[in-house]
Structure formats: structure tokens, C-alpha cells
Symmetry: C2
Subunit: 314 residues, 2 copies
């Protein structure tokens, strides 16, 4: 029976999904790894994968596609760029996996791009011809799908929508070195920063926050009528709606999907976000749908598996 693996690579462990070729998730496991830069570390990964297969009555030869999603740029030839937050030797790992899984096509995919593909395969965007996934977490990532295919970009910067400029007057510098990026206002970090700034401006006391990305507490404060929280979420919607209008003037998708951790609060701000987008977009694009993503943290695992399968020509 042919199988597909989706491997979500994190800083201290990997999460692996075993899929049927139709996209049914049959089993999941987590393998603690640490840095993945030595033959010993590669072996931990391949042994873990073999273990998952054995537990589910499958053999390494059954695996026809393996996707790996990484938190960094991957260009449209599948080449992995600089990985800032993770110790990984992509080529070494790729070679080790190829030796063990001789029938498998391998594909690296950027994590936000992978999440978009996951939603295309088995999530809200199933069967959609064009959509943009906006993954809002610590930063703002994106995955652009047009004509049913992911746009990874010639230099791996496709879908880097967190770095669309929304405020040319900004003086604070974004992680990318530029100023006024969407990510500075619409990420979890951005929302929490806006909330604190609004509290200061209004002279109110912020609610207790569990770290610099605790949007859950800001959302709860919003529900409880906290004006600063409402202003912070409004600003997020304003910036995001504006950036989406710019995206629509380039690829004009059928649907926007909001995912990532902040996507969990979608209901709270959905109408504000839709109104902001309609205010800024070109007339033909007002009918664009704005919906929540549905696969949560598993989206990227699904999506990298899908890409590896798709590239194989399944």
C-alpha cells in the first residue's frame, strides 16, 4: 500500500504524519531530535520514521513521497535558503532519507507555504483554484496558490506577505531590516505591542500577559470591553485588510484563509477584517471570501506531504 510522509521540522523535535495517497492522516508521531546536522542525528530521524511505519504495518519501500517543511525560504527549484531559527543540514538529511526510502520523492517546502498546500489538500481551500493563506503567529507568513499551484517564488520569497509595507512612516525596524512591514502590526507580537501602547496612550492598566505573544489575553480583554484591546485588534484588521488589498491587485485570489495562532480568534475580528479589506480593495475584488483556516497546527505537515506527492506526478 503506497504511503506518504509529512515531516514538520521544529527546533527540538520533528512531528511526522503518515498519510494515505488520498490524504487521510493515519498516524502521527513526534521524534525528539535537537540539532539535525550529523549522521547520528539523521539516523534518529530515519529510525523514527521506520518505527512509525512498522507500527502501522508499512515498510520503507511503501513510501512514495516525503515532504519536509522548514521555517525558512525554499525557492521554486526546492532549494532551502538561510534558516535563521533552526539547526538543520537540509542536504545531509535529504541524502539520509533517500538512502532509507528508495522509492520516495522528497520535497522541502517553506512552513507557511506548506500550510497553504495543506488547506488546499484537506482543509478549507480543498479544490480551490486560487487562495492566499495568511498564517499569523509570532510573525506573519503566507502561502499563495494560483491556478491550483503554490507560488514559492524564484528566490523563495513568494508569499512573504508579512513584509508588505503598510506604513511608510514607521521608524521602528522590522526583523527583515526594513520599516513598516505588516508583521510589525498584525503578528501576535505586533498585536501585543499595539495593546500595550494603547493602554499607555489611554492611561489604562493592561491585563496580565503571558509573554510577548499572548494574544489570547488581548482577545479576552477585547471581549470584556477593554478599549485598548479593541483598538489594537482594529489596528491589526486595518493593516491586514490594507495588505490584502495590495495582494489582490497582484494575484486576486478567490479566498483568503486566516490561520496560525491568531487565526484561532477569527470570529472576534472577522467582520472588522472584511470591512477593512473592502474599504481598500479594487471594485472587482470585493467578492473575495475571507475565512478561517481549518487544519490548525497540522496544516504544514499535510501540505509538505502533498507537495512531495504532487511533484512526483501522483
Amino acid at each position: 500500500m503506497e504511503k506518504v510522509l509529512g515531516i514538520d521540522i521544529g527546533g527540538t523535535s520533528i512531528k511526522v504524519g503518515l498519510f494515505s495517497t488520498e490524504g487521510t492522516l493515519e498516524a502521527v508521531t513526534k521524534i525528539p531530535t535537537g540539532e539535525i546536522v550529523s549522521e547520528a542525528a539523521f539516523a534518529v530521524v530515519t529510525e523514527g520514521l521506520k518505527g512509525l511505519l512498522a507500527e502501522n504495518g508499512a515498510k520503507p519501500e511503501d513510501v512514495i513521497a516525503i515532504g519536509l517543511d522548514v521555517p525558512g525560504p525554499v525557492d521554486d527549484k526546492g532549494k532551502v535558503g538561510m534558516l535563521a531559527n533552526i539547526e538543520l543540514d537540509p542536504e545531509g538529511l535529504q541524502n539520509a532519507i533517500k538512502r532509507t526510502f528508495v522509492n520516495a520523492n522528497l520535497a522541502f517546502v517553506n512552513d507557511a507555504n506548506a500550510a497553504a498546500l495543506g488547506e488546499l489538500w484537506q482543509g478549507t481551500a480543498k479544490g480551490a483554484n486560487s487562495f492566499v493563506l495568511i498564517a499569523i503567529g509570532t510573525g506573519v507568513g503566507g502561502g499563495v496558490v494560483s491556478n491550483g499551484r503554490l507560488i514559492s517564488g524564484a528566490f523563495g520569497a513568494g508569499g512573504e506577505i508579512g513584509h508588505i509595507t503598510v506604513n511608510r512612516d514607521e521608524t521602528a525596524t522590522c526583523g527583515c531590516g526594513r520599516k513598516g512591514c505588516l508583521e510589525q502590526y498584525a503578528s501576535a507580537t505586533g498585536i501585543v505591542n499595539s495593546y500595550k501602547a494603547e493602554c499607555k496612550r489611554l492611561g489604562t492598566t493592561p491585563v496580565a500577559l503571558d509573554g510577548p505573544t499572548d494574544t489570547l489575553s488581548v482577545f479576552n480583554a477585547h471581549r470584556a470591553g477593554d478599549e485598548a484591546a479593541q483598538n489594537a485588534i482594529s489596528m491589526m484588521c486595518e493593516c491586514l485588510g490594507y495588505a490584502m488589498a495590495q495582494i489582490s491587485a497582484v494575484v486576486d485570489p478567490q479566498i483568503y484563509l486566516i490561520g496560525g495562532g491568531v487565526g484561532g480568534g477569527f470570529k472576534l475580528y472577522a467582520e472588522d477584517l472584511r470591512a477593512a479589506f473592502r474599504k481598500y480593495c479594487l471594485a472587482p475584488s470585493v467578492a473575495t471570501r475571507i475565512l478561517p483556516a481549518s487544519l490548525g497546527n497540522d496544516a504544514a505537515m499535510y501540505g509538505c506531504a502533498y507537495q512531495a506527492l504532487f511533484e512526483r506526478g501522483a
Copy 2:
């Protein structure tokens, strides 16, 4: 022998190219039409097409694909939207053509999108996997190609890059009803307006201008050392480079092609434009190439023919 037709629809006439399936332009003709909204007008078109074929030893049955480019939105299902500057009944014309050319696949394509496809088929972008054509004339149009395919957009607004916002503080309204669009600064009209405003600001006398889109005279003034002309072109490059950086954060193309009338002056401003783009883009995209388009006014005629052929599965 199988043939392909590309029909460039203008306000008072159509220009028709007869192509081989390999993309060689074998003959061109112009057919005066006026409004194309009646059976009589449709017949003028079909008779003109038959005449072109007869002159070149071909029959209507030989034609396997016919593309029509129109100055307005066409969505990703090939449906033509509102045409502001032209009197055309797309469905009526399509039916009349279908009755005469029974073996042909028909496709409508937006003009700037068609120009991009023309460059992909037989121009500078031949064989490129991803690029964005920026057609600078009276307005600023665009055609986005990713994964070797045109992105027309779910609502026909794909490649509407003239309406990327570059100045949120603008008070003058763009033709689209919004404010601060790229088109307000980087179109022929925008360049001429900037030139006049700069002359006023500097207290200099503008050179004689042949109408509101005469960028040729502005370019010549630039070459002659006219400071206001140099400032106007600088501003064009600044706005265009900024907008291109936003596009790169969405689709990250391999190449930008500058076409349309203003594209003819490319050499004059190429280095300024490249510098502006590099100043604003994300680090991975600095290697993006910025080149002149090569098919001039024939690009759209080539491109709609290509699209009709492509959709047929040739």
C-alpha cells in the same frame, strides 16, 4: 496546416495576426470596425479574418485557436468584465467567430495579461518560469506569470499593479476611485503631471508637450539636463521600484519586464529603477532581473493567440 489567430481589439479597429502553432507571425492585417455590438459588425470581423486567411493560402477550418485581447478585466474562467473604453459585445462576437471557425478554441485575455503571455511565447521572457510584465502607457497595466502560467485572478484583477497603493497620503483620486495608486505617478500621464508640477515648483518653463501623455518630450528634456524632467523620472522610478518590491513579497518573480510606450525609454531610467527596487525589496529578491520587453505593440496580439492555443492543450 494548423493556424492560430491573435486579435487585438481597439476602439475603432482590430489588428489581427496570423501565426503558425510554433509562434511565427506570418501576416498581419488591420480591420476597421467601429462598435462591435451587432451581427453586421460581427460579420465585418469574420469576413476580415477569412480574407486574411485566403490571402495566405489558409482556410477557416485550419484555425485551431483564436485569442482576443480586450482592454478590461477577464477572470480566470475567461469571462469578460466591464469594458470602460470600448463598445464590444464579447458574447455576440464569440458566437459569430465560433460559427465561422468551427475547429478553433476561443479565449479572451486582458490586454496587459496578453502582453505578458506574448513575451513568454516569443519575447524577452521566452521560457521563463515566472515574471511580471509592467506595461506603462496612459495607465499602468500588468501581467503576472508564475509556474509558467498567467494569473488572471478570480475576479479578473490579477496583475492590476497600476493600483498598488504607493502613497497613502495622496489627496488626488485615481481613475479607480482610490487614492495614491502607482498609476498616478508612474503612467505616462503621471510622469507628465509630475514634470509640470516640478517645473512649477522650480520656477522653470516646461518644454513643449504634445498632449497629456507625451513622455517622449520629457525623456528628451531629461537627456538635455532639464532638472524638472530628471526629478519626474526619479519619482517614477521611486514609485515603481517600491511597488515592485511589494509584488516581490507576494509572487517573487525571476524577472520584471518593462513594456508599453514608456518602456521605450528604458535605457534612460533602467539604473535608477533597479536601484529603487533594490532599496525596497526583501534581501532574497535583490537578484531579480529588470529588463525591457521586446515585442512592443504586438505583444498582446501574440499573447492572446498563445493563450487560446495553450487552453486547447497544444
